[in-house]
Amino acid sequence: MILSDALAILPLILLIVWAMIVLLIDLWIPKGRKGITALLTVIGLAVALVLTVMQANSPTSAFSGMIKVDGFSVFLNILYLASGIAGVAISFDYLNRMDLQHGEYYVLMLFSIAGAMLISYAADLIIIFLGIELLSIPLYVLAGIARSQGSSEESSLKYFLLGTFASAFILFGIAWLYGAGGTTNLAGLVTAIPDGLNSAGALPMLLAGAGFLVAGIGFKVAVVPFHAWMPDVYQGAPAPVTGFMSVVAKAAGFAALMRVLFIALTTETGDVTPVLAAIALLTMIVGNVVAIAQSNLKRMLAYSSIANAGYLLMALVPYSNPAVQADSVASALFYLAAYALTSFGAWAVITMMEKGEIQGSEFSDIAGLGKKNPLLAAALSVMMLSFTGVPLTLGFWGKFYLFRTAIEGGFIWLAVAGLLTTLVSAYYYLRVVVMMFFRDGDPDLKYSFWASTVVFFGALGLVVLAFFPDMMFGLATKAVLLLK
């Protein structure tokens, strides 16, 4: 019993144990040779990745139903672990260059990934809470890892305070749901609620719980109006941290949201669809519109990240419609994967640009990149086109699937509004291309082999996978099938 439970979450256990081991080993690794720590980290991630892939075809339940290993968790965990590797890649040279060779950096990253994995395994509200905390606390530290820089400190403190504030929301929400159903088990809630309290009391509690949860998780995934922290944090934190965060924290947040929505809140009475629709609409509009006013790339990408959260949420809006659920989840997962590739690519470039104290990441700083480093600029252009959703990039298929889901669920107006905001987004994404290719300048780019590799790998993936989207679609669909 205990053994089989442990086996179920073996990748997670391994990662955590490994993180502690690395933390210890790191004590004996001198400052100039943190490459060893990085390598160890990658090894740990790779082993966990292999283990996760091996789980792919054996869905199980463990820890008295608190943990679920299914296609959903496998898909996301692969994403997290791969992101971890990419995160190390974009961090390594940056940390050396900025004199931030702290071994614990990588360890914190591992812990954070462990938290994200925990969320994807979660079948119980308390696991979700634990996962979110395990994900977030290391991130608070990572955001402030550039201690000497005021902006890093500020972003860290803001993230910490507001993150905790949101955690309080989540916790409070969980408490109400517990009150409504007498259980914290996601699946159990569905069955428990009708015969828990008297129905007159259960409904308000359920709704209150749902509301607090949506608000709290909404903070983690940064949807309007719970998004305000994100631009500041993204801008202030060191670029590789932000890049890592933008993928893992976002995906984990959505994983939590999906688990809660699709398992616990599918009851008719607890329908939060209109709330989600309103939030999605607001998010798409605000994220995209405000992004065009930005002159700092990191901030622009932060708003872009907010906007993308809006698109993702749009696909989840018709979550209570059983006919669309499968597409909802599959499209969101697919989009997350495409988003991960794109986002890492874009942030990797910024890690090469950044000079500390948010220097070097202005739009004007990349002027002339097309001339100086055409390949890199071309790759970044692919990212931007993918973000925009231009065909022959994976981003197009991602958006295609999301919008299709929204229309399938009957939310044509939301899809149309979303499409129009895409237009707004085209403006600021294209500005990057304009800057790189059409304007003259002398960009100060500190070349990094590993970061460049991430960029090219991402660009290549975005284009090549666009020709064979069925591979990714297949995986995403499979993840959904096993979710049930």
Binding site: T164, A168, L171
Partner: protein
Amino acid sequence: MSGIPLVYYLGLAVILFSLGAAGVLIRKNALVVFMSLELMFNSANLLFITFSNYYKALDGQILVIFVLATAAAEVAVGLALMVAIFRSKGSIDLDQMNKLKG
């Protein structure tokens, strides 16, 4: 405890939560804000205990333990952060923390 109706507990929890939230909104010392956040956490804990008692189930109480543990972790990180900031800036006044905006 049995004499006091459930609603009183719930009401108290809501009041505590609101107090905490209000504290976050109006205080500018990061430490005080953090204390307010702890208050919000504990209002949730109160709810857990209450419902645990109501359902005569233990899992609510176990949950509270978990929460306390995580809260402790947060305290550790948060205080360290504030110390670091106090060292470099000489203040943990949140109103001075607005270099990043827009």
